[in-house]
């Protein structure tokens, strides 16, 4: 790298190593930048560029000060300024002004002292009013006795540092009664999301980042040899927003009080030592946790940065716009915060990760992960698009595909803070997200059991055999006690066949029908699951040309059919397949997607189907059987009773008739008796028959559906329809290939058959007719 000697003078005149402490002029500090890794407190010192392979400055007014930009959604691009505006009746804290930058230049650095802002605004040095001057034309550095300089880092070795996010949070008890702050805690992101910490401390006041840097020299971050040992903690407590970074009139007249010629930072952030001073604040209250409503101060402004879905628009438990200050004026302490109790842990994690990712460096969730290898699953790397961080990041092996993987220093990032790229605010890529798989296995009301074919047979037999060891008189009582209904089969909702993997959920337990243990064990079933089926690279078989665009691709998706894939979107990408299966209804959705250049998921196709087959099951309808049995028995009993007396009565009549000497009447009566007795006899026999042949009512549960889909290939596939290419070398030699080229035949080194549609013949001393002939011949094809 070239030393920028035109600005800083000859390199040999730069301050030597270790001389920083000895009254080195502020200008000299800017020439020397190193983010050391030898265990020294390099971050509060600057070292000679020449020694020990330290990083040296290059183009310091460009990306060595501000190596990247924060995108539009980052909190520091969206700073809201809340202030106290007096009114006639009461004072309110309300939104006074608001930043919304498409990109925000920033610089890490060292600055500030305890309790003071490291940025000075030309003002009356009333530091409580510092932000009032924020909207003046020329915010500048100041070096009053209360204010310190800001010294930016101008070199950061990408692979030797790791950012760690920290959460300053509160449990809702903001003060301890004496007016001192209480109820605060500080967690790294990983700890905040573990256990009950998030629930116990749902009010986030600040999000900070700490930089851990490598303290030993034995580690090669690219090869992963040696032990990282990133134990050093950057003493940086300041980040400056360096919008419109500009170079002033040179350093010759530079002194500590005139840094406004060099930098024009908008704002710097800092922590608050009263709570914890770990790291830099990148979201929440930027000027510390405490909002002071000062006495005898007309106005004040407090900057609060919100973004990625975390809004710090509450003061303690009140919304900003509802906050009122009692009169007469008093001094208040209040804390801007964001209530995350309604957000899931995943949502909080993703929002914080995206804030950190915008800085384009490696980062982890927890401090105990800072020594992970750079391509481990716990290590993440912010993605930069034209030098702008939009919150995208990679993790694990995907880090190797990032541009920063091949860089040693942030200087190598192609970004110019004085000329940031034009960002289309509508170009921010949200991509698609797939929710995590979830399971639902409820017992006690509705059970779902996952069984094998063998289990089903055992279970089916049990439905018919469960009363075989019972005495008949105990059957009905047993049924009512064992089942919740008189019909055991009514307890079965459905039986389905679903040939899908990995849908088991929970521990194995006995399969029960009501209270009846059916003798098999099974686990419960996930309500739904997602499956990654891998990817297939869509390669332009015929080259990256128009012929490859004649390829057609179809995706065969089991149970979902076949869909045509958009070739233009998929070409030169890995085409991924994911299945989403709902085990309740059997509906399955196949999703085909790619990962675009912004590392976002883009769904190209979806297809729906059903992979469940309903199987009917049968059993005895006991209730009806019992009723039938009872009715038949009662009828039988009654008949028997009636028949006995009836016959006796009839016989008595017969005898009387005979005694009367009227044989015909007697005979008739006898016949009647016989007929009645015969009828009674017949009815009784029929009743006996009916009782012993009481119909057993059956019931079938569940419908049946086709199973033919299960006979097809269960492996999802891509079918590539490729046209037949008859092109040959002789064809190309005599006919050429279609193209659009501009230049000269000599410059393009074209030979062989060539057709030229247009040519500029200026400067050729030929007649008009000759020129026409030239054009005509060239258009018709010539040989060079």
């Amino acid at each position: 790298m070239q030393i920028n000697q035109t600005i800083y003078g000859l390199a040999e005149n730069w301050p030597a190593y270790g001389t920083y402490q000895e009254g080195v002029a502020a200008t000299e500090k800017l020439k020397l930048a190193c983010f050391g890794f030898d265990g020294e407190t390099a971050l509060t010192d600057v070292k000679a560029a020449k020694e020990n392979n330290r990083y040296i400055l290059e183009n310091p007014w460009e990306n060595s000060i501000s190596y990247a930009a924060l995108g539009n959604f980052h909190p520091l691009s969206n700073i809201k300024y809340y202030g106290r505006t007096p009114s006639t009746t009461a004072d309110h804290i309300a939104l006074i002004n608001q930043d919304e930058r498409l990109t925000t230049n920033f610089a890490f650095g060292v600055g500030g002292g305890s309790g003071f802002m490291p940025i000075g605004i030309k003002s009356d040095y009333d530091w409580q009013n510092w932000t009032r001057e924020r909207w003046t034309n020329d915010p500048s550095w100041s070096n009053s006795s209360n204010l310190a300089e800001f010294s930016p880092f101008t070199a950061i070795p990408i692979k030797r540092v790791v950012l760690i996010p920290y959460i300053v949070c509160n449990n809702g008890s903001w003060f301890d009664g004496s007016g001192d702050p209480s109820g605060f805690a500080l967690f790294d992101l990983k700890s905040y999301l573990s256990g009950t910490n998030k629930a116990d401390f749902p009010y986030i006041c600040q999000i900070r980042i700490e930089m851990a840097y490598q303290t030993n020299t034995g580690y090669d971050p690219e090869e992963g040899t040696g032990t990282p040992i990133r134990n050093g903690s950057a003493a940086m407590n300041t980040i400056a927003i360096m919008e419109n970074l500009s170079y002033g009139n040179g350093l010759t007249d530079f002194n500590n009080n005139e840094m406004d010629n060099i930098f024009k930072p908008l704002i710097t952030t800092r922590g608050y030592s009263g709570i914890s001073d770990t790291g830099l604040t990148i979201a929440g209250n930027l000027s510390g946790n405490i909002l002071y409503v000062a006495v005898n101060t007309n106005t004040f402004v407090c900057p609060v940065a919100s973004g990625f879905g975390l809004e710090f628009d509450r003061i303690n438990n009140l919304k900003i716009e509802d906050y009122e200050i009692q009169t007469p004026y008093q001094s208040y302490q209040a804390f801007f915060n964001c209530d995350v109790s309604s957000l899931t842990k995943d949502e909080v994690q993703e929002a914080v990760r995206r804030m950190v990712a915008c800085f384009g460096l490696f980062f982890v969730d927890g401090s105990d992960d800072k020594n992970e290898l750079l391509d481990s699953d716990k290590m993440m790397l912010g993605t930069l698009d034209q030098g702008v961080g939009n919150g995208d990041y990679t993790s694990g092996l995907a880090n190797r595909s990032s541009d920063q993987w091949n860089m040693d220093d942030v200087h190598e990032i192609d970004y110019d803070p004085s000329n940031p790229p034009e960002i289309d605010p509508n170009a921010y890529d949200d991509g698609f997200n797939f929710p995590a798989a979830f399971g639902l296995g409820i017992s006690g009301i509705n059970n779902r059991y996952l069984l094998t074919a063998t289990n089903i047979l055992t279970l089916s037999n049990a439905l018919w055999d469960f009363t075989k060891n019972l005495q008949p008189e105990d059957v009905i009582d047993n049924i009512s006690q064992t089942f919740l209904t008189n019909n055991p089969i009514d307890l079965i909702v459905s039986l389905q066949y679903i040939p899908v993997k990995d849908i088991s959920f929970g521990q194995s337990s006995a399969v029960k029908l009501g209270r009846l243990d059916l003798g098999v064990s099974a686990t419960s079933v996930l309500a739904a699951n997602t499956y990654d089926c891998g990817f297939i690279t869509i390669f332009p078989t015929f080259g990256d040309n128009w012929i490859s665009k004649n390829i057609r691709i179809f995706a065969y998706l089991p149970f979902c059919g076949t869909v045509e894939v958009d070739l233009e979107a998929a070409m030169n990408h890995d085409l991924y397949l994911k299945y989403l299966v709902d085990t309740y209804t059997g509906s399955c959705t196949a999703v085909l997607y790619i990962i675009n250049s912004r590392k976002k998921i883009v769904v190209l196709n979806t297809a729906d189907g059903n992979c469940i087959t309903d199987i009917p099951i049968t059993g005895i309808q006991w209730e009806t059987l019992n009723a039938n049995l009872y009715n038949a028995y009662q009828t039988n009993k009654q008949l028997k009773l009636n028949t006995t007396f009836g016959v006796a009565k009839a016989l008595t009549g017969f005898g009387s008739a005979l005694g009367a000497g009227d044989l015909s009447g007697a005979a008739r009566a006898g016949l009647d008796v016989f007929s009645g007795a015969s009828a009674a006899f017949t009815a009784e026999k029929i009743s006996d028959y009916n009782l012993s042949h009481t119909q057993i009512p059956m019931r079938s549960i569940g419908g049946s559906s086709g199973i033919t889909s299960n006979l097809l290939d269960m492996n999802p596939k891509l079918l590539f329809y490729r046209p037949i290419d008859h092109g040959s070398e002789s064809f190309i030699s005599t006919e050429g290939v279609a193209c659009i080229l501009n230049g000269t035949l000599e410059g393009l080194q074209l030979t062989g058959y060539t057709e030229i549609s247009k040519i500029d013949l200026n400067g050729i001393a030929a007649t008009a007719a000759e020129k026409d002939m030239i054009r005509s011949l060239l258009a018709g094809g010539i040989y060079v």
Binding site: I498, G727, T754, G763
Partner: protein
């Protein structure tokens, strides 16, 4: 009027720009009188020269005094007096070859660049012999599937029984 003519021959295609010529014979002005030129075109001249069998192999002539123009020999006729009547047509490609290859132009077809055979580009080419009426079908499996197949379906749990109840 007479001109000096250089007779040349080449085996290159008439549509080639940078032709390679072999000189055959040079006439002098004295030996190449121009007949009455009324009506003779600069682009399509004709000459009468003394018979010389070597001239019969010529394919081109070059007339330096006429702007170094190079002409195709369109026809050679035997004339009386042991003369040959040479009819010519301007070869603009050969005449202005050096200038043509250095003028900016738009190329719509080419066969070689930098000595390498061209390959189809992103521009659709209606002349290219691509058969889109027939397709070669190639099948590729995804690396995994969510479904259990074949014999595995018997051994694996694939049945969901949904029941009510479940008391103790």
């Amino acid at each position: 009027m007479s001109v000096a003519i250089l007779f040349m021959k080449t085996s290159d295609d008439p549509k080639k720009i940078n032709k390679t010529f072999t000189n055959i014979y040079s006439t002098t002005p004295a030996t190449t009188p121009i007949n009455n030129t009324e009506g003779m075109s600069l682009l399509y001249p004709s000459f009468s020269v003394a018979y010389n069998s070597a001239l019969l192999a010529a394919t081109h002539i070059k007339v330096d005094s006429w702007g170094n123009r190079i002409y195709f020999i369109s026809s050679i006729e035997f004339d009386t007096g042991y003369k040959l009547r040479i009819s010519c047509a301007i070869d603009v490609l050969a005449t202005y070859a050096l200038q043509i290859v250095r003028r900016p132009c738009t190329i719509t077809r080419y066969s070689h660049m930098g000595g390498k055979l061209a390959t189809p580009t992103y521009i659709p080419d209606s002349k290219y012999p691509l058969d889109t009426t027939k397709y070669e079908i190639v099948v590729q499996n995804f690396s995994d599937t969510p479904f259990i197949t074949g014999a595995s379906a018997i051994a694996n749990p694939c049945y969901i029984l949904t029941t009510m109840g479940g008391g103790t």
